[in-house]
Point group: C2
Chain length 219, copies 2
DNA sequence: TATTTATTCAAGAAATCTATTGAATAATTG
DNA sequence: CAATTATTCAATAGATTTCTTGAATAAATA
């Protein structure tokens, strides 16, 4: 094989892989599948796009070996092809968060409206756990909590949070988390809790980032 | 800001960032700029494409804040905007190498033709250095060696290698390296050296990967 | 076996991306 | 100051991507 053909092949393949990621809906799908497998309909619902369109995006991701599918009865269940897909997406995402002014601005604006800009990193949370000085709350839907969560976290799905505000445990700071840095459940929870005067911040990252670092999880 | 608008903005921005990477020439440019800054003409030469086309690709990369430029006299010197760009590209690249059958096949075919498939990882090289059991040869152009190289490496640019074959040092295995896993200088060097019966393998990675791990370098 | 259901496929219009060409710009040199 | 040089810009044609619509498929159920 020629030197030139080699380079052309390699970089074309890698560009194809990258192109398969380079669409807002497909990135959102990857982020969603980081929580666990989902059917086409569930994904379409979450993204608010048509089933046919969702299916086509999934074909693109499958064609690039970014997701895998297994069929069970009526349903096609899609999942990420490997942890490396997640790691690679996180790399891109963090580059965007740290270097793109527009993304930083959007994050900041959204969170400031919800009094949620002051977030806690995984490392800070680990410190607080060691000092037994924190109440960790998982505000994802119960199904996701049951599929795996930070050890010691309590499950209060965001749509049940209002019922628990009255008798909130005192003394420790509350840290809420959900699916990742772009998951808004945690910001909404911070908004509700801090309006009640409860000391609370969100975890900057989410469960997938915790899990991929092999930190303690429960099922 | 609405939840929906927030997600749409964030993922669109990230998709734009990813799209800026998703072209074979632009990935090659990123890989090249990992060696240091380059003028438009140098980049065009390396990629064998027109200057105008190169310039346009550079505008796309600049628009996504992936590269930065400074002008000096006639020349525009482009460089990577940050180490995070490199890390992000490495993430994608490694996903491709490890998970895409077509890339693996191309690498394997190219290297087997050059008796260069058996490569050494950075970790293995570190072991060999500790045992003082290795001759490290940098086969990149001299200019790149002078801009930074693995400590203890000897510079023999690939086009001068033939002159040094006769009196090659005996006793230690030779490890050659160049710009990264897709750089072919190292494979060509392995081919030339092993045809002379000299024990040699290539470093799987290249100088940028060594440097980004903060391993010892010299200038 | 006919019907229902979840998903995929196919075709087409609109938008975007790419490489080429030649002109425009802006710094340096004669 | 005119000429040269490196780079960018603008316009364009061809290729690719995207979303929509409606039909096709294939597994489960009546």
């Amino acid at each position: 094989m020629e030197k030139h053909e080699f380079k052309s092949r390699i970089y074309s393949e890698l560009a194809a892989l990258t192109k398969a990621m380079s669409n807002p809906f497909r990135l959102q799908i990857i982020d969603l599948l980081a929580q666990g497998s989902r059917t086409v309909e569930e994904i379409a619902d979450q993204l608010s796009i048509s089933i046919a369109n969702t299916s086509q995006h999934l074909q693109v991701l499958k064609g690039a070996s970014l997701v895998a599918v297994y069929k069970q009865g009526h349903y096609a269940h899609y999942r990420l092809a490997s942890d490396e897909v997640l790691a690679s997406w996180h790399g891109l995402r963090d580059l965007g968060i740290n270097r793109m002014a527009e993304i930083d601005r959007t994050l900041r604006e959204f969170r400031e409206e919800r009094e949620s800009f002051d977030s806690v990193s995984i490392n800070e949370l680990l410190d607080k756990i060691q000092q037994d000085n924190v109440l960790i709350v998982d505000v994802r839907p119960e199904k996701e909590f049951n599929a795996g969560h930070i050890s010691g976290a309590r499950s209060i799905p965001i749509d049940q949070l209002a019922q628990h505000l009255a008798d909130w445990p005192q003394g420790k700071e509350t840290i809420v988390y959900c699916r990742g840095p772009f998951c808004v459940f945690a910001d909404e929870a911070v908004q509700m809790l801090s309006q009640k005067g409860i000391p609370v911040r969100r975890l900057e990252e989410g469960f997938p980032e915790w899990k991929i670092r092999h930190l303690p999880i429960s099922i």
